[in-house]
């Protein structure tokens, strides 16, 4: 239970940091999405069903903070977390980075396409650029966060310590 509390706290911190970095250190106007980094790291150590539920709850929290229709982030995060959990624990740094990059790409692409399907005006939004830059930004930050996040993800898991 404590683990889920720590996970929630990590997500909250990720929301604050993502927002701050988007403001003070954007790359071509695009900020990172550290929430998906936290979620994907957590999902790697979980069974797919729990990961999907955690993804949905996390996405719903994000939906409450943005203007897009609520449910889109929940859907994108949930499917992404489920897929990451199916892929299993990343043993090496490169596998971890690959999963984070893939998760970021997939969640943002799903979110973008979902927005389009729901009739959001995306005419002026460079979706491809946002998806690619966010993926790159997350890939840059993920190695720095990896040790801490993996510790959180594996905390209190029976036999979870590496």
């Amino acid at each position: 239970m404590k683990r889920y509390g720590i996970y929630a706290l990590a997500c909250f911190t990720a929301i604050l940091l993502s927002s701050e970095l988007a403001f003070s250190l954007p790359i071509v106007g695009v900020g990172p999405d550290l929430v998906i980094v936290v979620l994907a790291t957590f999902a790697m150590a979980e069974d797919p069903k729990t990961a999907a539920i955690a993804g949905f709850a996390t996405g719903l929290g994000r939906d409450l903070l943005i203007s897009s229709p609520a449910g889109l982030s929940a859907f994108a995060y949930s499917i992404t977390a489920y897929s990451v959990a199916l892929a299993g624990t990343a043993r090496g740094v490169w596998t971890y980075l690959g999963l984070i990059a893939g998760a970021t790409f997939a969640s943002h692409a799903l979110f973008g396409f979902g927005s389009m399907l729901l009739g959001q005006d995306m005419s002026g939004t460079p979706l491809a650029r946002v998806v690619l830059v966010t993926t790159g930004y997350n890939s840059l930050l993920a190695p720095l966060l990896m040790p801490l996040l993996r510790k959180i993800a594996l905390a209190e898991r029976p036999g979870g310590a590496e």
Binding site: S19, E20, S24, G29, K49, A70, F75, D121, M122, T125
Partner: protein, 289 residues
């Protein structure tokens, strides 16, 4: 294998159903909006805290960056310089803020805005598909949805949502943003829309005027003030950067650079609606300032 596929399908189906339920609640009821307001309120308190912590670090980083040119000087002078720069970095923020406020007041005086509410930018959008900022003033401070938000250089955007203690500002560059403008030089009108990046597009300009060259690079765009009384007129918006006829020559592609550096905002002013200013020019305006 069959069992595993069925399990995957059931999880995906459950996620889809949950998504449809949330979407329906969002579109049909105000429940999600209400919850969003409460969550934004809580998060904005922490965001303001993070901003407060990060701001001096930004100043210090700026100070350290400037040290490169001093490497040739002797150690004693270098140490002295570091100390002075460290000190300067601390005061730099205050001086910059002071200068910004002065310029902001000069702009407000020039376009006849009184009673604006000063606000601090506390965060940017979590989603890069949207362009907005969070400020630390909300409905309790008299901030209203739809009102213009200004920086010393000109228009930043408009208030799109408010909660009690914070508000969301839709930036000029947001893809959903559309602002009525006029060319400062000749009064030709058009609409400036966001295109998601750092530039804007000028549309709906009279074709005849375009053909006779009414628009030039470096022309300044000001708000037209025609938008149902939402914006004051003559607020600087942007400068024309490019006027390109389309390949078929049927239309023009006019690119505009915003005058405000939207990524470097600290303090902004939420202008009252023009009609409010006209109706209550004195005491109310003084109170909200």
């Amino acid at each position: 294998m069959w069992r595993r596929t069925t399990r995957h399908r059931s999880v995906v189906a459950a996620v889809l159903v949950a998504t449809v339920v949330v979407l329906t609640l969002d579109f049909r009821t105000g429940l999600i909006d209400g919850m969003g307001g409460v969550v934004s309120e809580i998060v904005s308190v922490f965001q303001a805290g993070v901003r407060t912590v990060v701001r001096p670090i930004e100043g210090a980083v700026g100070g350290v960056r400037g040290l490169g040119s001093l490497r040739q000087e002797n150690e004693e002078l270098r140490q002295e310089n570091i100390r002075l720069r460290d000190q300067a970095a601390r005061f730099e923020g205050v001086a910059r803020e002071n200068a910004q406020l002065r310029r902001q007041m000069a702009l407000e005086d020039a376009i006849g805005i009184t009673g604006g509410t000063r606000a601090r930018v506390i965060a940017a959008s979590l989603s890069s598909l949207e362009r907005y900022l969070e400020i630390d003033r909300g409905a309790a401070d008299g901030v209203e949805v739809g009102t213009a938000v200004l920086a010393p250089e000109g228009l930043v955007g408009r208030i799109s949502e408010t909660s009690a203690r914070s508000s969301r500002v839709q930036l000029l560059t947001d893809a959903q943003s559309a602002i009525g403008v006029k060319i400062d030089r000749n009064g030709e009108t058009g609409v400036v829309t966001g295109i998601g990046g750092n530039r804007l597009r000028l549309e709906l300009v009279d074709r005849t005027a375009l053909d006779r060259g009414a628009l030039r690079v470096n022309d300044i765009l000001l708000t037209s003030g025609y938008q149902g009384g939402v914006f004051h007129s003559n607020i600087p918006v942007g400068v024309i950067e490019e006027v390109d006829p389309s390949p078929r020559g049927t239309t023009y592609r006019i690119t505009v650079r915003p005058l405000v550096r939207l990524s470097r905002l600290d303090i902004v002013t939420v202008a009252p609606k023009p009609a409010v200013v006209a109706a209550t020019p004195g005491p109310d305006a003084q109170r909200t300032r």
